[in-house]
Amino acid sequence: MSRKKNIGITAYSIFVLLPVYWLINMSFKSNEEILGTFSLWPQQFTFANYQVIFTDPSWYNGYFNSITYVVLNSIITLLVALPAAYAFSRYKFIGDKHLFFWLLTNRMAPPAVFLLPFFQLYSSIGLFDTHIAVALAHCLFSVPLAVWILEGFMSSVPREIDETAYIDGYSFPRFFIRIFLPLISSGIGVTVFFSFMFSWVELLLARTLTSVNAKPIAAIMTRTIGADGIDWGVLSAAGVLTIIPGILVIYFVRNHVAKGFALGRV
């Protein structure tokens, strides 16, 4: 049984890794080699494609832009979602259920629907082509999710803990930061994972709301389509570089993610 399982999971892992491997393979080949010969690994190993990216500011700035708005998005999301999730998990108040559901509906809104209005909104308030505009736009999708995930984690912390802390003379902010947040660290890990995941991978809004200064790497990649066809090598190298931040994030939160998923709140 366990043998069969191992074979199965290995096969699936290969299925997951093969396309990624092919991308990596391509990134170390020159265009002549890519188009000229078919080989399972690079025959003339080259870093030229990566060199193009690391030496051209319009390339590497794309990475900085993406990382900037992704980090901004995660910070804003956590800052506003933490108190809100606390309110939802601890108190009843007028309109709480409606508000909660309304928040969730935003997770269900197709980004394409918001494309044009976002463009107009951010242009009219002068935020077009800024990192904060993309971060705010992504918040529309990441915040409801964050509130939902965090509410689930907070509800599993018994309220007696809050009460004990107040009796022990903790003020609310001190209690929240010193006692409560460490208790839901898994939830914060999962929230970061998801706001990162959403913001990093999204392209439609990010591309629409930026032109030069805050243009994300994903949008810059379309540049590789030039007059003489696609520059496959550089495109692959750029692709490989976009995978790395994701792997870093999942590595750091891997232990939290399984716990967080188990609550069924993603």
Binding site: N6, V16, Y91, P117, V201, F261, V266
Partner: protein
Amino acid sequence: MNKIQNNRAWFLVLPVFILVAFSAIIPLMTVVNYSVQDIFDQNNAYFVGVEWYRDVLQDPRLQDSLLRQFMYSGSVLAIEIPLGIAVALMMPTRGAMASLSLILLAIPLLIPWNVVGTIWQIFARADIGLLGYAINGMGIEYNYATNATDAWLTVVLMDVWHWTSLIALLCYSGLRAIPDAYYQAAKIDRASDWAIFKYIQLPKLKGVLIIGVLLRFMDSFMIYTEPFVLTGGGPGNSTTFLSQTLTKMAIGQFDIGPAAAFSMIYFLIVLLVSWLFFTTISQLDKNKT
């Protein structure tokens, strides 16, 4: 848990409310506004009522892409849910291998969507891609850029590659939450592996699976970037889904009125289906307590 009635809790929710209202209500109002007007320029706009809605609903482009959309969402769900469960069941449960497989599986989820498209473009092309080359090498003619069926299959396969991990991770965590005693009791009751799956694992996965189906439905229904990069919606319109039709209409052709009406219909469909799921979930929660 008995919650305390406290309307001051609104202060805690206020930042979220303002932020989301700013990014959701204003744009949504704009869309509604456009959807009922015919706009020539800044100063000339006429109220046209539901005319755009009627037009859009009769538009074969919308009908076609809606049909394609449902077929697409249906097929990816039909593959990803069972496959995801199977993968979760096969994942190692502890030790370094568990961490490793967790990270491996999560990789596709964290790749920018256009890069996912790019990866599959490179992987599946008949001339330079491993997959395309291999299939053609086996004597089967395959070219996703010219053959509609091939394009369709490739897009579905890409989605399976991209998103099965999400279902697998959800189920994996759901499985980890089952106490050992259940497996031990089942062993003593002489349950077969199939019976353990059917009577212990599957019922415990119900919660996460509903979330999984909901997420996959929503996201596959909104899919845009990956097929856009891979096939550009073609050949013909064979892989043009709702978001792409909408984007073409709004940005490509500046048919703002119909595009807005289209947006509203689109949003309502997603909302309706999601609401159905949401009620099911809360019903389940109620049954538990």
